[in-house]
C-alpha cells in the first residue's frame, strides 16, 4: 500500500495514495497507523482523496483505526472521500461515528471542538 504520514499542526494525516484499497493491503495501513499512535499521534486524519474504491474489509479497518484512536484518548476524521467511497461509508453507517470532511483545514480545526475521549 502506498501511503505517507504527515503532520498538520497537532493532527497526524495518513494519506493513502492507492486507488483501490482492499483486504490484502490493510495490515500495512493498520500497522503504520499503530506506529504513529505509539509515537504519540492522537488526532488522526485519514486522507482518502486518492482512493476510488474500498471494500467492506477497509470499512472494518477504518473502524479499527477509530477504536485505536479512541482507546488512546484521540479521535479520527476522514478526509475527502470520493463519491463512491463516501457512499460505501454511508451505507455502512461510518459517517454516524467518524466525522467526514472535505477540507483538510476544517478536519484539523474540528479536533479542538471534540472531547479528548
Amino acid at each position: 500500500m502506498d501511503l505517507s504520514i504527515d503532520k498538520n499542526g497537532t493532527a497526524t494525516v495518513i494519506r493513502i495514495q492507492t486507488a483501490r484499497v482492499i483486504y490484502p493491503l490493510l495490515p500495512t495501513l493498520l500497522e503504520k497507523t499503530r506506529e504513529a499512535v505509539d509515537k504519540g499521534a492522537r488526532s488522526l486524519i485519514l486522507d482518502l482523496q486518492a482512493v476510488s474504491y474500498i471494500d467492506s474489509a477497509t470499512i472494518g479497518c477504518i473502524m479499527d483505526i477509530y477504536r485505536l484512536a479512541k482507546d488512546n484518548g484521540g479521535a479520527l476524521h476522514v478526509l475527502a472521500p470520493q463519491a463512491r467511497v463516501e457512499t460505501m461509508l454511508s451505507m455502512a453507517g461510518v459517517h454516524k461515528i467518524v466525522p467526514i470532511f472535505q477540507e483538510e483545514d476544517e478536519a484539523v480545526r474540528a479536533f479542538s471542538g471534540e472531547a479528548s475521549n
Partner: protein
Amino acid sequence: MTTTHAVKLSTGFEIPLDGDLLAIIEGLYKEITLGTELNTSFETMRNEVLSVIDQMTDDERRNYLAESLFLNSVTYENEMLSAYVRRLGAAPAKPAGKVGPRPGPAKRKGATERSRRAPAKTKAKAKRRPRR
C-alpha cells in the same frame, strides 16, 4: 479476486465481477428500479438478484457473499454503536465543513428499533476493545 468476467442483467446491462459489491447494487438500482420508473416489485428484483447469482462461479459467489456479509456486519455494529452513543447523549459533534451525511440503508426504521430493544448487548459490544 482475479476473475473479471461480467454478469448480464435482464436489460442487457453488464456488470464486471471485479469484487465491487456496490457496482452490482448500483447496477440493479439504475437498471431495474429506475429503469422501470420505480414500478418494480420485490419479485422482479429478487429474480434479478437470483439471475446475477446464477451467473457467478463458486469462487465469485463465495467472494461476493463474504463481501456482503462483512459489509452488513460492519453496518450492524455501527448502527448499534451509534444508537449507544445517542443514548448516552454524547453523539459526535457535527463537523463544520462536512458534506451532509447521506441517509443510507442503515437508517432503516427496523434497525433503530432493534437497537433500542437490545441495550445490554449494545453496551457490551461498544466496550469490546480492541477489535481484530
